[in-house]
């Protein structure tokens, strides 16, 4: 009936996938099944919509957790179209387009979900000049004040305020260079 045509339509599907992504990967609260149905498939019967939602969520989850590249995606979606109770060719096209646009962002979100400790979110700093002696020839030494924002998912950030003299900044920079070398070596061998 009319509901079937709408369920197989393209524009609402794109919106549906966005809604699923918002709820599952981008942490947007309050996106309910009712909301999605009302906005995108108002003519569809609730049980029909539920089935569609489940199917699309499942497909997206498979694609996302495997972080599929274009070849894998094509193979996977083709297989889905051939399956009993699978997806249509039109739906496959919409899903493919959606994944191309959202892959990086969804991947980043999934990686974040596995970060349970504090993460460096932001860094602010300033350099002050500290006057040192009361003698006539004043020796001014610079000191850096650094504020690091450390946060966990869904929690208020902790702010770490630190002081660095020039020697400490040098020491820090040296360590960071070591880390950089290590990462470069890693990414070159993979």
């Amino acid at each position: 009936g009319k509901g079937d045509i709408l369920l197989h339509g393209c524009k609402p599907l794109s919106g549906l996938l966005s809604g699923i992504a918002q709820a599952t990967y981008y942490g947007h609260a309050g996106i309910t099944e009712e909301l999605l149905r009302g906005q995108l498939y108002p003519e569809a019967a609730p049980h029909e919509f539920r089935a569609l939602l489940a199917k699309m969520s499942g497909v997206l989850k498979s694609v996302a957790s495997a972080d599929m590249d274009l070849n894998q995606l094509e193979a996977f979606l083709t297989a889905q179209t051939k399956k009993q109770g699978g997806i249509t060719a039109d739906q496959a096209a919409v899903i493919a387009k959606f994944w191309k646009n959202h892959r990086t962002k969804i991947r980043e979100s999934l990686i974040n979900q596995s970060r349970w400790d504090n993460t460096l979110k932001n860094m602010n700093w300033r350099v002050d000049l500290k006057s040192q002696s009361r003698h006539v020839d004043q020796i001014n030494t610079p000191v850096a004040i650094v504020e690091m924002e450390l946060g966990k998912n869904g929690q208020e950030s902790e702010f770490l305020c630190l002081e660095f003299d020039e020697a400490k900044v040098n020491q820090m920079l040296k360590k960071l260079s070591e880390i950089e070398e290590s990462i470069t070596a890693l990414t070159q061998t993979t």
């Binding site: 957790s65 305020c161 002081e163 950089e180 990462i183």
Partner: protein, 230 residues
Amino acid sequence: MAAAGKAGSPPYSHPGHGESSLGRVSFLGARPPAEVEAMAGGLRGLSQETFRRLLTVVVSALEGKDCKESVRAIAESVDLSEEQLTSLISGMYTLLREALRLPVSTFKQEVSTRSAWCLDKLRIPEEFIMDFAGVVFGNRHPVVEATTMKQGNKLPSVNDIKWRVDVAISTSSLARALQPSILMLLKLSDGTAHRFEVPVVKFQELRYNVALILKEMNDLEKRSILKIQD
């Protein structure tokens, strides 16, 4: 955050020679801090023994020692509510801390003046004033040292940096992650340690910023050297 100063009563204005006592502000400021006033009220009716026990605890606290046990012991043996106890201790702590900020010589000039202790306003019983004075004029050294160390106007600095590069192969959300991430452990001068993860992109930002800080410091030094030569 850095302690640039302390909130509360205005600083004691040092009296010049020959100034009358009328123009002087006591070490507690024109208006004593609320907790000191509250304490003064609570002192009436307090036994000297209890007062002295509290005073010992407060002095220990000023010396930077952990006083939880002592306070608990007093709370259990004395007929005072937690609120009353807290009020007394915080008031006594503030009073002594302010008094100890000043050099002894400044204080000695005031000791005979009732206004120094805001006695008329606070009405602290005479015998308790003697005990307070004993602390202020007694052996201050450990207390002063402890307070200056604690309230130092310096932020903690980094003593040691440890790091690790991890590569997440697979996670519950991502079957094939292969994502490198940096784990850093900063040991600070105040004894604390902070562990956090730095995503690769943030790491590049961090490295860039630190290099920029160094450049700023060098530039500033050059500029200040030039200034002196002027």
